[in-house]
Symmetry: C2
Subunit: 436 residues, 2 copies
């Protein structure tokens, strides 16, 4: 389990000048990803300020040894899966070594800085890819305010299904259509049926929506038939990112009984390309917020004292919308909502323990979405379905434009940050895509 | 599109003696799979009688050329995905060449038969693997009698959801836990709640069931955002097999709202290891049975005249149960049901056209289950849920034992055959697994 160490020291600065005060990638973050430099092939890298440290180049320069070298080797290719498979210790060794190499005050600076031209690339010149070959993508429903908002139309008096407070509800989603930030999303066609119509029609979805979720990248995983106990489950989280679980609400409403959403979700999913390791997030761990009085205690396979005390994270999330109208007026993206991962009803360890409790096997590079993270009030609603009351309320943007659902050309941008007194704030980078 | 050619000629026999009259694998079948010979690594093979033709050995012996060699090369490794990606023509060329090589009367016999020791392995000595690295596994709900039986408990007057006759309903299932025939299945634990209880409990599933389905192995597939038109969809079927979609009914009943089944299905899925190509199945193509009077015509993206005329298959399916009691008395497996793929409400092309209509991308090695194929009456019900009326009716076996759901040690065996006047019958081989 990662702990707070010298890599989190707020006094540590980097010889990479842009890292100081960088809102996302100071030396305390060091997220991992896969990128292509100009005219280069995909390879593993580490974000530092506005630069990317090239792990392949680092190996060639011989700046790694021991466990850090093994980890860099496993992360240097076109996907991080092999590093994800190694578990915590090599990942932590790599983080410590990268922090030394990039530190302004470290003994390594004299050796490494002269080679910056070889080791670093301007991030703006690079292409970012998916961080892993995604074996399976599971989408949970752990944002309780979102679950409640979604259930209000079915039964305003009992918006949560009876299982909600016992079961970390989830469904399998589609891995093949997950794309990294920046790849445009095509509006899907599908069947939809208005309540007043006798039969469905087929055509472009009219209620295209986004969903603001946390991405969980799975580490070592388990063999089929061998559940991961809750006390060990946290060690299988490699790192976190952001997911936009694009949703066609009109398709979803018609197709989902009795087997759940399918085409409404599988036309495309956007993830942020940088993986914020659980090691970088160690200072931002908090206790899972206590359940409201009257809620049941989780069943014992989902209950662990240490997990309850340290298994949640304090991460603020924002959803922004950019439109043609805002662009034309030179206005910034419109902030649609802000919420926090404390609005999740389950810890990440609980999601993993539940997913595997019947024996299902997880593997390195598997992706979880937590489900939409909405705050308790309108300002925190993480989807247009909730913000617009399923299209009943117009949302007015800074440009004077209005929206209920997404229009072609709209661009959705998610951001996430961790802030805490005595710590250097870190960010997740963007999860962004435009409707083509 | 494959057509009926000399490879289907009923007069053709093989110099592999066991192929003559073989109930599954005469020379007219030639299914593809992945196997390991004793002390050998996994490789592509073709079933012929009680032997397996080794494609790697065939390449080494130089018996392939041109398109057949390209196909054999793509199929010779530890997964058939590369062959699946090539589409129909190389696959058909390989089939024709294999039929020539193995034919009793062909000009090639003198060259090939003396090398039989190198080219053939006794199937009984080999291990069979999954035929492909499964990218994604989608499970449909296209067996209308099963859908109706399942809905009877919810609403006996309207057992089918309003979308059923318009939408080829499906959900994403779990690829990582699919295993080939013969690998035991562990009874999963999970949450279940009896109607009379206030809260759920966690423990071993009590209502463990099987589901008899057809497996569809996907060929070339499509790019994200590029739907496959119905008229082209059939070309993306590489071949067929059998799926046992094991289901924990008590877990399913409690967890499935609102996002569908999850842990109830992802603890294990069994597939038959041999892929019966659509080329082998060409003689058994039939017209899709007409919809009952009053049913709506499919929406236009699901409608193609040629598909309606030739897009269904006449395949009989059987589910058998072997128990400790039957074994102890020396009795054969108990036949639980027999049904036919004509009980599917949608053609395979309709499933593919629907899956991709919003842009979702399919890839070589993707697996579809059709959904449970039940006949219209009790004799044809393809799951214990249906046969036992959700546990209300005891099923008496030949041994005098009774069952409602599966007990530990029970073994479920699926078989499938195609029979037609003027044709040599072919079979699918077994899909078999025991509850550990």
């Amino acid at each position: 389990m990662s702990s707070i160490d010298e890599t989190h020291d707020p006094r540590r600065t980097s010889w990479v000048a842009s890292a100081q005060g960088h809102p996302e990638f100071p030396i305390q973050n060091l997220p991992l990803g896969v990128f292509s430099p100009p005219n280069g092939s995909p390879r593993g890298g580490v974000a530092i300020g506005d630069q990317i440290f090239d792990l392949q180049a680092g190996l060639e320069a011989g700046v790694f040894s021991g466990a850090a070298a093994a980890a860099a080797e496993a992360a240097a290719g076109a996907a991080l899966n092999r590093l994800m498979a190694l578990g915590g210790n090599p990942r932590i060794a790599l983080r410590r070594r990268l922090s030394e190499l990039l530190s302004a005050d470290g003994a390594e600076r004299r050796k490494v800085e002269p080679r910056a031209g070889q080791l670093l690339h301007n991030a703006a010149d690079c292409t970012l890819h998916l961080p892993a070959a995604i074996g399976s993508f599971t989408d949970f429903f752990a944002g309780i305010h979102h679950a409640r908002n979604g259930g209000m139309r079915r039964d305003p008096n009992n918006p949560l299904n009876p299982n909600y407070k016992y079961v970390p509800v989830a469904y399998h989603s589609r891995a093949s259509s997950v794309r990294p930030s920046g790849v445009p999303i095509r509006r899907p066609s599908g069947q939809r049926k208005a309540a007043e119509d006798d039969a469905p029609i087929f055509g472009a979805a009219q209620k295209l929506d986004y969903e603001l979720e946390l991405a969980v990248w799975i580490g070592p995983g388990n063999e089929l038939g061998q559940p991961i106990p809750i006390a060990e489950a946290g060690e299988h989280v490699f790192g976190l990112g952001l997911v936009n679980d694009w949703s066609a609400r009109d398709v979803q409403g018609w197709e989902s009984q009795p087997l759940g959403p399918f085409l409404a979700k599988n036309f495309g999913t956007t993830v942020s390309p940088w993986v914020i390791t659980t090691d970088a997030l160690a200072p931002f761990r908090i206790a899972q917020p206590p359940r409201p009085a009257g809620d049941p205690r989780p069943l014992s396979y989902l209950w662990d004292e240490t997990d309850q005390e340290t298994g949640a994270f304090d991460i603020t999330l924002e959803a922004m919308l950019m439109t043609e109208g805002l662009r034309a007026k030179g206005l910034p993206p419109h902030r649609m909502s802000a919420s926090n991962t404390t609005d999740l009803y389950w810890t990440l360890a609980q999601l993993i323990a539940h997913h595997t409790c019947g024996g299902c096997n997880l593997g390195p590079g598997d992706l979880f979405g937590t489900g939409t993270i909405s705050g308790p009030t309108l300002e925190g609603y993480g989807s247009l379905m909730e913000l617009s009351g399923d299209g009943q309320r117009q949302i007015t943007l800074g440009s004077g434009e209005t929206r209920t659902f997404l229009q072609d050309g709209d661009e959705v941008i998610f951001r996430a940050h961790c802030r805490k007194a005595g710590c250097v704030p870190i960010g997740f980078g963007e999860c962004r895509a435009r409707i083509a």
